[in-house]
Amino acid sequence: MKRFFLLLLCSFWILLTFYRPQGIFQSIGALLTYNTGLFSLKPVDGYAEKIILIPPDKYKLDIFIDSIGVPHIFGQDGNSAVFGLGYMHARDRAFQMEVISRLVEGSLSEILGNLPLESDKFWKPLESEKKSRIILDDLKENHPETFEHLIAYAEGVNFYLENEAYKHQAPEYRMLGISPRLWKPHYSLLLSSYMSYMLTYDNDQISRHFINTRLPETLKGLFDADTAFVYSIIPDTIFRFPSAEKILLPTLEDIEAEDILLEDDMYKKSLGSNNWALAGRKSTSGKSILCNDTHLNVTLPGPWYEAHLVAPEFHVYGLGIPCSPYIISGHNESIAWGMTNAYWDVTDKYLLKVNPQNKNQYWLNDHWVDFEDKEFTINVRGEEPYEQYVKFSVFGVVEFRGETAFVTKWYPAEEGNASVITFNFLAKAKNWDDFKAAFRHYSYPAQNFAFADNNGNAGLLIAGNLPLRPQNFKGGVQDGTIYTKAAFVPFESLPKIYNPERAYVSSANQKSGRTEYYSGYSFADIYRASRINEVLSEDKLFSVEDMKNLQGDRTDISYKELLGLFNKYEQINDDWDLIKQLKGWNGNVNAESHEALLYHNLSSGIRNNFKNFIKSNYGITNNPPLSRLIQILIENEKLIFPDTILNTHSFLDMVIKDLKNKMVQEYGENFIEAKYAPLALFKVQHLLKIPGWGKSLTDVGGNAYTPNVHVQQSGVSMRTIIELGSNEVNALMVIAGGQSGRPNSSNFCNQLEDWKNVRYHQTQFSKDPSKLKNIHSSFKMN
């Protein structure tokens, strides 16, 4: 009996060691055992030098990796160079690549269990994987060079993965107890869907509809970009898209559905970017300068990967995103480019008329049409597969909200996306004409692409597919009873500007330009763009040092307008003294500033209070842009709502009372000593949110209105400054994180401190490998 209990106890322990945390990680026993767990893993970088590898016959290349992990890839031809990039991406970012491709494919649950099931349920019916295969076939036919690059890139990725030693496995794979899946060429095409989702997917059209149909005249412009804004991306030009005038579809008057669940539009508002290009005559060196900093969710690893590719066909340097065989923001010997999100609206929501006699039918072009039923299987790790049944209309996936049926048509998913071709052409472009021509094949996500060349020129092109909408359309829900084939603004009509008189171009996600035609409603508020233009329009020449200062600028100029609003009214009580505390402030948002903290609470307070008003009166959940709100409050001493009249003076008094209460509540009676520091804390999380593999940074500072943007976990994800001389390129770069996506690598987060402190590293752009410095290791592949 004693022996039986002993065996039972031992068996119980053994079973316990097989417990898998959250059902997706390796068992506790496997994780904590030397060779099966994380302890035996060796960092992949720097473990050997001058390695000779034998790749497939057609590829011959050398890779030199410098001390911060940047690969300098010298290929005997373009395919070999791209093969090398694939090899390096797999070595440093295989897990991230697998997550991105699986996310878009809708198969993340296969490796992460049911945690990402909702995400898979969104993506699976979009059939992005199937569409990307079709695009790949089309590339083979019509763009063989790009097709071959995608093949070479995939072979490079797989050459690494197939030869990876067990001890060099990425920690995330070891934690999950899985092996990386081999890369297929069409996976690279999924990247632009991923980026398009982050930058263009809107799902607040119902709320937008209420904005258009329910708001009184005085509030009509509250949510629209200011058409009179002097610093639109392409000022002084009115754009016309002739073909748009031909579309005469009816728009809906209103939606009778108070119970419709509305989404909040908060999460995306901090995503965006800055770019600007100075013509040679605006810089101290006489050379044109291009600057770019993109704002995305900052995680470890971050999105960007720095690389240098040398081949007879191209010589290019810059930042790409693992999954893509090309440099996305960077330069070659002649030109430089960088992008910001254009915020063009590429999502349409349609209200369907469902047959009350037969719920499986909807009204379309004057007759009842059956929904198409499709079934998808989502494999879930550790569980039974999830069977998803989806109804399709001609517009896309049908979504029932109570008795009401909507369809969200997201163009990047509908159309597929071959934007990758553009970056192949950019790598070889020599001038503005080549640059423009490269975008003929670009579709999503629409971006403001800044340009500079080594002849002192600067320009900007807004590229991407902009769907043609009915006349007078202002966003919101459309009538789903009529279908016409989608058409887009023609490539020739895309807004562009080249060598303007002011000698610079810039964009910061503000509205593209003055146009009667609807292009979107999610543009960034004007303050970031205003600040950049305020600096660049100074009558002086700028140096690279000035560019660094502007990228690191944490000045929020919105305070001037907001204080102007409060100054318009008389002080009602002592609480208004709080406003006086801001009078000596220069708008600098840093950890040590009390004023920055006070102002943060004031500006968010005024927006939140007003948002609550319009939410309770009109059912609108969107956050009003601060600049438009201030403008409307300055222009109107009274605002009439259905049940109440809002007296602006009293409203401001309420805002100040709330501000006082909040400051006392959060920071105590002595709140005057409270600083911005807690809000300047920036937490960079690991991709899988593994505790300890993320980093917390103090005194990051900045907010959504400062050029150096930081909001919660979003912010600047990279910075580039590129000065183009006729014979040389002087480029500075830094990324949020590091080159390697492996937590056990010395390059995992080695650039974070530099990134925080707006420091850069000088890039090495030489065709001669012997001139490269600080080379840490190298691969010879032939």
């Binding site: 322990w13 060779n35 035996s40 893993l41 505790p691």
Partner: protein, 129 residues
């Protein structure tokens, strides 16, 4: 001599699978099998403590010395919860010692339970001696 041989068998039996086997289930199978062998050849259930101390020593070498600097990124996990980083090494060493000992004990207990006559039929051998 017998005692030394016993220890050598135990050390090799514990160490080799840890270095060669990359599948945890297989490793557990090896260790339990080793326990069965120990049960048959040494006819004793008193294997827990020697195994525990041998594995403790092996664990210290593997986790503390061989893994060395490459575990720095793991030490950040307890640090996130304001605990000392080396705790994760200590935990791993202790867990491995306990786990290996229990697996081997399970094997020996299996023999003792299902082949009691075999246990009783030969002269009792204590492997410590």
């Amino acid at each position: 001599m017998g005692r030394i041989l016993s220890y050598i068998i135990l050390i090799i039996g514990l160490l080799l699978p840890q270095l060669l086997v990359t599948d945890y289930q297989l490793l557990v199978f090896f260790w339990v099998s080793l326990g069965v062998l120990v049960g048959f050849f040494f006819k004793s259930l008193k294997v827990f403590l020697p195994t525990f101390f041998i594995q403790l020593g092996l664990g210290l070498i593997l986790f503390g010395y061989v893994a060395g600097n490459s575990t720095a990124y793991l030490q950040q996990i307890p640090a996130e919860f304001n605990l000392p980083g080396f705790l994760i090494i200590g935990l791993a060493v202790l867990f491995n010692a306990l786990n290996a000992s229990i697996c081997i004990l399970a094997g020996a207990a299996f023999v003792a339970l299902f082949f009691p006559s075999h246990f009783r039929s030969r002269k009792y051998v204590n492997i410590y001696k």
